[in-house]
Symmetry: D2
Subunit: 163 residues, 4 copies
């Protein structure tokens, strides 16, 4: 998860994360729009042979979709689809928490007690989400490689079965 | 699309349709529950090597999912997810229109003017949906093989790109 | 519930129904758009002092709302909001079943086993919905006055508490 | 908006806010559950004659509803309904940001650029939401009375028309 407009370093990070997730054999699910973290993470994944990317879009089929998305799910529900993204992910990784859309996804993920990782989040975001009661507590990671380590050692998601 | 409880002939039909869709290189998307047409169509698809099945579920991740579903999208939105199924499908095929859930999906598909095929529908369903104004007009098919012919000749969906 | 484009007789019927519902002390909930049955039913209700009309809209707050709606609920979910309309109504009345949007609402209402009345529906709609398995069975009414009688005698909804 | 489990001082604050909003002639919309800030704000509103309270619930009609809610809208969409609450409110007031559900609503409100007030929020919440880019900037208030002043002077919502 991540913003459609973000800093170049966040995009690089998202691209590398997408690649590492695909190399580890996992499906990469994003908001599917042709912008920002969504596109970068999917592009990273699609640089790996045999990868699979899923986009859960805020629009119907008339809306724009990233060319890096293999499978588009059209909700036509705007930001309400953020709840679907979170529930459909075995692990929610926020690449930066630079905008309110991503913040809503982190909050929904913690509310639903999904495993959640804050990657490269600003101190204010970490301070806010890690002190919140009534939900899960997010992991913190400085690099995409650290995210993979957390998923493998703490969350223990199996590789996706090959198709 | 189809009912969770239905006649044996509808299940056979759904299974064959799933297999034919997968053989034609298309992704099979259903409501994802371990029952009825959803499970039968996915099982048919999974009898084909390299197939991909998607389930868009009414529940969150705590709910039951068909073991024939490769990719589960958890909406936790009950029947409101029917709108997502319809918008995310290049062609909507109703395997029988035996229950109100399927009827709602056919109606939503026509409203959104998605290509829609009624497979083995009772005369009352055909009469109702084919005379309705303000939306698309469904195709009719007697057999799964006829559905494939309609998709290839009338709707012209390209094969899914191999992953 | 009813179509945004419909016959003049359906509009008259919707207007009278809205008035009778308001006179009976009930809240009138529609899809809230400034068109067709939605607007006519709300206008009928608002001709009664002390009435309350609720619109559950497919758009966000930037979309058009009928001036006859007292309270607008903005879903920004397109037709997925039909599921909300149905679940939020003590009785679902379809004023004509002339379009696929209304058909989806009737189907969702039967699926959820909400009390449902088909007012002035064509024979094909009645034949279809009354023979469907796996959900409730709709009442039929020829006139708005007959709808009120059904609600009072069969469904037994209490008057809304005065505010 | 606010948590279902929260500190006594937050409940008092929510109750007073509900009362002041109703006295100012506004409709009070909450998540509608019989708990926490939702119930307290509605109870405060219902202590005022002629008030109107709306609950937009995560459940269907089988779920629990606060007895202080006049009009229940049943979404059966879980936390995805938070997007509806935010879009349907002329002003979003968060009574404390103590849990992730409320945090998601504040984030969605800022994303949609709805006028948003943080009432009695902890410093970490204020620091997080006020430095976020790509959305609106929330107002801050220490007391319910200050919220009313902000709405009247900054947001300028007209009184709801009497019904």
């Amino acid at each position: 998860m991540g913003a459609s407009e973000c800093q170049p370093s966040t995009l690089e990070s998202a691209h590398r994360l997408g690649r590492l997730l695909a190399e580890a054999g996992w499906v990469v699910l994003t908001g599917g729009r042709p912008a920002g973290v969504m596109e970068a993470a999917c592009a990273g994944a699609k640089s790996v042979a045999g990868s699979l990317t899923v986009g859960v879009l805020p629009t119907g089929p008339e809306g724009p979709v990233s060319a890096q998305v293999d499978l588009a799910v059209f909700t036509a529900m705007g930001e309400a689809r953020n709840a679907i993204n979170v529930l459909s992910s075995d692990v929610v990784v926020a690449c930066g928490v630079e905008g309110p859309g991503t913040a809503s996804e982190v909050a929904l993920a913690l509310k639903a007690r999904r495993p959640t990782v804050l990657l490269g989040a600003a101190p204010a975001a970490v301070a806010f989400f890690r002190t919140m009661a009534g939900g899960g507590v997010p992991y913190e990671a400085e690099t995409p490689d650290a995210v993979i380590e957390i998923i493998q050692q703490q969350v223990r998601i199996p590789r996706w079965r090959p198709i």
